[in-house]
């Protein structure tokens, strides 16, 4: 029985570890400035937790096999523990866990404590059952007013986010169902939701933020690789949650300017 347990526990441990190490299923390649920092912290955490995982599980398997009761087993060592050992492993674990945490917190601070750089591209993200809309303020750099009374999701586009077209600042606002971003530019995202909570998740950017009715949450990202990236809603928002899908196209500054100009032209 001891041997059977050892084999099962070791097998589970080694097979599980193999797929982590082989990265058979893994994070997509990073495509935003934050990705390399997050992935670095990830790798460090993986190595440390992996060592603890292997040591604990392999040790467990070994102990249950080694100390199984047989007629020739020696008497047990009558011990109620060892205070010195307790203190040592408590201290080591505390240093490991808290140290790891402090290392990761600098990345968090740089992402969340400071606002976007001046001159960042402005994009407003609006989540609603079950679509994403993106609004660009246009040449005036100002978002026009929106009103809940004007929201008409069935009409899509400007009407869906309730854009008040009589507001002068709204004249040049561009609302789209697909997100375009210029590469290597900081983006100042303004995240909103009109009905229930949604979550704007772009795995390749290592970016996720809930969009919450009543809140306007500012976050910043900087895409670094030209390409097409998928957006998935990550907060349960109703029966269509699984199909609340969107796309981000990261393009060169030149292509971005052309795209935005074409949208402006369509409006006129």
């Amino acid at each position: 029985m001891g041997l059977a347990l050892l084999i099962l526990i070791w097998l589970i441990t080694l097979v599980s570890t193999y797929f982590f190490v082989a990265k058979t299923w893994w994070l997509p390649a990073g495509a935003a400035a934050a990705a390399q920092w997050i992935d670095g912290q990830f790798a460090l955490t993986f190595i440390l937790m992996g060592i603890v995982f292997l040591a604990a599980q392999l040790g467990l398997g070994y102990i249950v096999w080694k100390y199984k009761e047989t007629p020739s087993s020696p008497p047990v060592s009558y011990s109620h523990g060892n205070t010195k050992l307790e203190i040592i492993w408590t201290t080591l674990t505390a240093i490991l866990f808290i140290g790891l945490n402090l290392m990761g917190s600098t990345v968090w601070a740089s992402q969340r404590f400071a606002p976007a750089e001046a001159g960042a591209v402005q994009v407003e993200v609006t989540g609603m059952q079950f679509a994403w809309y993106f609004r660009y303020p246009g040449p005036d750099g100002k978002y026009g007013a929106t009103s809940p009374k004007l929201m008409d999701p069935s009409a899509g586009g400007e009407a869906a986010v309730g854009l008040n077209t009589s507001d002068p600042a709204a004249k040049d606002d561009v609302v789209t169902g697909t997100m375009y971003l210029p590469v290597n530019r900081e983006v100042d995202l303004s995240l909103r939701a009109v009905d229930v909570i949604h979550s704007f998740f772009v795995p390749s950017f290592r970016f996720k933020q809930d969009t919450v009715p009543g809140l306007n949450i500012h976050m910043h990202i900087k895409p670094t690789v030209i390409g097409d990236y998928e957006i998935a809603c990550a907060e349960l928002c109703g029966l269509g949650h699984y199909k609340m899908h969107g796309m981000v196209h990261v393009v060169s500054q030149e292509d971005f300017d052309k795209w935005l100009a074409a949208r402006e032209a369509e409006k006129q």
């Binding site: 526990i9 589970i12 599980s16 797929f19 982590f20 058979t24 299923w25 893994w26 994070l27 997050i38 990830f42 955490t45 937790m49 603890v52 995982f53 599980q57 249950v64 100390y67 199984k68 009761e69 008497p75 047990v76 009558y78 011990s79 109620h80 523990g81 060892n82 307790e86 492993w89 408590t90 674990t93 505390a94 866990f97 808290i98 790891l100 945490n101 990761g104 917190s105 992402q111 969340r112 404590f113 009905d195 229930v196 909570i197 998740f201 996720k208 809930d210 009715p213 009543g214 998928e230 998935a232 990550a234 349960l236 928002c237 029966l239 269509g240 949650h241 699984y242 199909k243 899908h245």
Partner: protein
Amino acid sequence: MATPATVHAHAAPQGFIRKYIFSLDHKVIGIQYFFLALTAVFVGMFLSLLMRIHMIWPTAVLPLVGEIKPETYLSLLTMHGTIMVFFVLTTAPQGGFGNYVLPIQIGAPDMAFPVLNMLSFWTTFVGFVVIIAAFFVTGGAPLHGWTGYPPLSALQSAGPGEGLGADLWITSIAIFCIASLMGALNFITTTLDLRAKGMTMMRMPLTVWSWFITAILGLLAFGVLLSAGILLLLDRNFGTSFYVPLVVVNGQIMGHKGGSPLLWQHLFWFFGHPEVYIAILPGMGVTSQILSTFSRKPIFGYKAMVYAMLSIGFFGFMVWGHHMFMSGMSPYSAFAFSILTMCIGVPSAIKTFNWLGTMWKGRIRFQTPMLYAIGFVSLFVSGGLSGPFLAQPVLDIPLHDTYFVVGHFHLIMGVAAIFGIFAATYYWFPKMFGRMMNETWGRIHFFITLAGTYAIFMPMHYLGLAGQTRRYSQFTEVAYQAKLIPLQTFITYAAIITISSQFIFVINLFWSMFKGPKASDNPWESTTLEWTTSTPPPHDNFGGVTPVVHNGPYEYGVPGAKKDYLMQTDPPVDGGHEKG
């Protein structure tokens, strides 16, 4: 102060109804809780089976159920989570085994408040009936998930099931909270006031400590959830706006203004995180008890184990914000919640070290309770080590609301807790029902369940890393997720096999209840008080005798003793000591 003699004023009942239905006997009530949880776990497991089938074969027409629609899938996951967390993971370890074993282990004739005890069971039962009713009302069961985040859960028009079904859902939870508050009061009073002579706090079995701490957590947590639930009912039905700001659903302006969706999340997780420990602490207690008994060695670091559980309980109330790193909460508070969460990993690690230390140089006996206790340690390690990923806000960015989280909490608070329940069942079954369970089938059940559990939940970590979001009924809409369907299919097959194998357990349970070999008073050669009395124990637990305790709870392999163990009531031996 209540004393054992005054509490047990009620004589042994005679009629069937007073003996088995509205019983005041903690042992009968414990068994009632156990069977309620057993019913609930099969309902919850059946729902998860339907979910797994729907994900892989979305158009399958199933017998009885028909075709599952995406919204039905969301109802299934909501009800699966709610039933499992409340009516299984809270009910079985605490209401079931805690009720049955705690009074006997401290040498009391019953709980401090037997009528309150009966009331808390029947209130729980009503809660269960109410939640099951949600399946059968117009619109069906709610689809907002077991966490019920408003505005989705607060607006009747936000989706199917958000009408009467959602009202029944929140009502059931509120009823459950009331029942748990009554139970918690009873457990705390009993532990503090009804201990036999010589049963000092530091001689209590670790199981008693775990139920005691769990009860304190319950007392502090369920009151908050109850209040939060009442506010949600008001928002849903009486036009208040605690949780709902001005929102527009489908082009319609709802009549709410100024509420905060994050308020619910704070209140819910202020309950929800301690709830994780409510589910797992009794499992830790029973694992400690069993590892010591079946290794024939004293528990390694008894005092450290007690302090670890106390600090887990203490820190457990200060970490709720780690569920909310992506919620829009202040990033500065995320920083604090994250450090505190890492702190809670320390006592958890101490427990693991001490479990390994207990088995080290022991004489391990591999009866089924021991197998499950060893399985608990393995699952606790695996589920625990994904914690430090999720506890770091930066790593939570890619992982939050993905299958990584689903794998993490199922391993640690789902199946590890379930392994604790299995260990407790195989261990105390002889005492409860007077007969032994079948060992061969117990072992077969264990090996399939351990392997199956890992086959289901370990791949979920890989899915989460690859960005597979939670609560998706289909994976075909997002291109990168469609590539993960083969792994999802593997999980579904593993789930079908593992769920099927649970019938081995049920058949063993009922067969042994009537046909198993008769159990002796102390079949495992254990030391705690429940093994000093007859099997099953008489109505007043000790047949008119009040036990007097002389020894600590885990005196195995004491040099100079006649046997390799000393019962807690045995006269102390020179070689024995109680130092921690």
